[in-house]
């Protein structure tokens, strides 16, 4: 007799994929014994894969540290999107595409993160997208310095990185929030041109979420927590 098939509604699937890791995240980042009592996480508003929650969605989380961790996980949905991490490589070659393929034509980080002579980033990338040639572009097009590498990093690791002035470009947390909300190169991630998938949500939402994370204590989600 064949096994009965169980239909799962797509929105239920999204809710599950978002809620389960979040529950892990809200469990705290204390000692590995992790037996300290924590309040069960209230369910968050369901959003699609291309949307972001807004700070108000996190208000039901009474524990401010738990709320802060949850806020960062939402921020990290943008930071770990290919539109962002492709130029935060953990090596000397930028990535491209949704599969993080190595940049083609072959391009290298170079001595100042702007490419090598003859293959500077701005030799091809302009200050805006070229719709006909499909070459993506934005002001300040370059690789993030190696200390800001995000490829292969967890939300926890990226969070700790963002809080470390030695690995965040010497920025304060308020400056990080402003950067996320207003920087022109960050903006490109939401308007990548051609047929590229944009990062989820809007830059304004990213800025607001980052600001809320900072104001709530800039707590980092534990290792193992995903968006």
């Amino acid at each position: 007799m064949p096994s009965p098939r169980v239909a799962v509604h797509p929105t239920s699937f999204i809710a599950l994929t978002l809620a389960l890791p979040l529950a892990v995240a809200l469990g705290g980042c204390g000692p590995s014994t992790s037996l300290e009592p924590t309040a069960p996480a209230p369910p968050l508003r369901q959003v699609g894969p291309h949307e972001l929650r807004v700070p108000a969605d996190f208000e039901p989380i009474a524990d401010v540290k738990q709320r802060s961790r949850a806020l960062f996980l939402e921020v990290s949905r943008v930071l770990t999107h290919p539109r962002c991490i492709n130029c935060h490589p953990n090596g000397d070659v930028p990535h491209q595409g949704m599969s993080l393929a190595l940049h083609d034509p072959p391009a290298l980080r170079g001595p100042d993160d702007h490419g090598v002579v003859g293959m500077e980033c701005t030799g091809c990338h302009q200050d805006r997208n070229l719709e006909l040639a499909r070459v993506p572009g934005a002001p300040k097009w370059a690789l993030a310095p190696i200390e800001m590498a995000w490829v292969g990093k967890t939300a926890h690791a990226i969070c700790e990185q963002l809080k470390d002035p030695k690995r965040n470009g010497g920025k304060t947390l308020d400056e990080i929030a402003h950067h996320n909300g207003h920087d022109e190169l960050v903006a490109w991630g939401f308007y990548p041109g051609a047929d590229r998938e944009p990062a989820p949500g809007t830059q304004a939402q990213l800025g607001a979420l980052t600001e809320a994370w900072v104001k709530s204590g800039a707590e980092c989600p534990p290792e193992g927590a995903n968006q």
């Binding site: 034509p105 072959p106 391009a107 290298l108 090598v116 002579v117 003859g118 293959m119 500077e120 701005t122 030799g123 091809c124 302009q126 200050d127 070229l130 006909l132 040639a133 499909r134 070459v135």
Partner: protein
């Protein structure tokens, strides 16, 4: 838009759409046809010129970016083809069909200006954006080494 661009040492005024690719302006407006159209997507390097000394792919560089700046094309590398790279190119018979060679030379010139004695790895890295469908890469590398005053083959 009126763009003022110093092209090969001569001041030019271009009344063109600011988003016109620089390659169009060079070839169709100024008649400098040494720079070639290959792919139109910055993927092959045939259209390579220098903007204030830096390599750019002119097929994707809008004229507005060059406004107020200096552009050097293959015609302006030297007035008489006497650049060490050009001499080495001739001596070694580098080109086959020749279509990509203006771009190859412009990238190589930028490389040698920045690194007068490049390693083979540095040559390969800097020339990686210039494709040659005839496969003249070994001769290109040898000519760059020769122009740099180094043995044509790595020792």
């Amino acid at each position: 838009m009126s763009a003022r661009i110093r092209v090969n040492g001569v001041e030019k005024t271009l009344d063109v759409d600011p988003d016109m690719p620089l390659l169009w302006a060079l070839r169709d407006v100024l008649g400098l046809t040494g720079t070639k159209y290959g792919c139109g997507q910055a993927l092959c390097g045939a259209c390579t010129v220098h903007l204030d000394g830096q390599v750019v792919r002119s097929c994707v560089t809008p004229v507005r970016r060059a406004d107020g700046h200096e552009i050097t094309t293959i015609e302006g590398l030297t007035p008489d083809g006497s650049h060490p790279l050009q001499r080495a190119w001739v001596e070694l018979g580098v080109p086959q069909c020749g279509f990509c060679q203006a771009g190859q030379l412009m990238s190589a010139a930028a490389l040698l200006k920045s690194k007068p004695r490049p390693t083979d790895a540095e040559i390969d890295q800097s020339m990686a954006g210039n494709l040659c469908r005839c496969g003249t890469y070994p001769r290109i590398r040898a000519a760059i080494r020769k122009a740099a005053g180094m043995p044509e083959e790595e020792r």
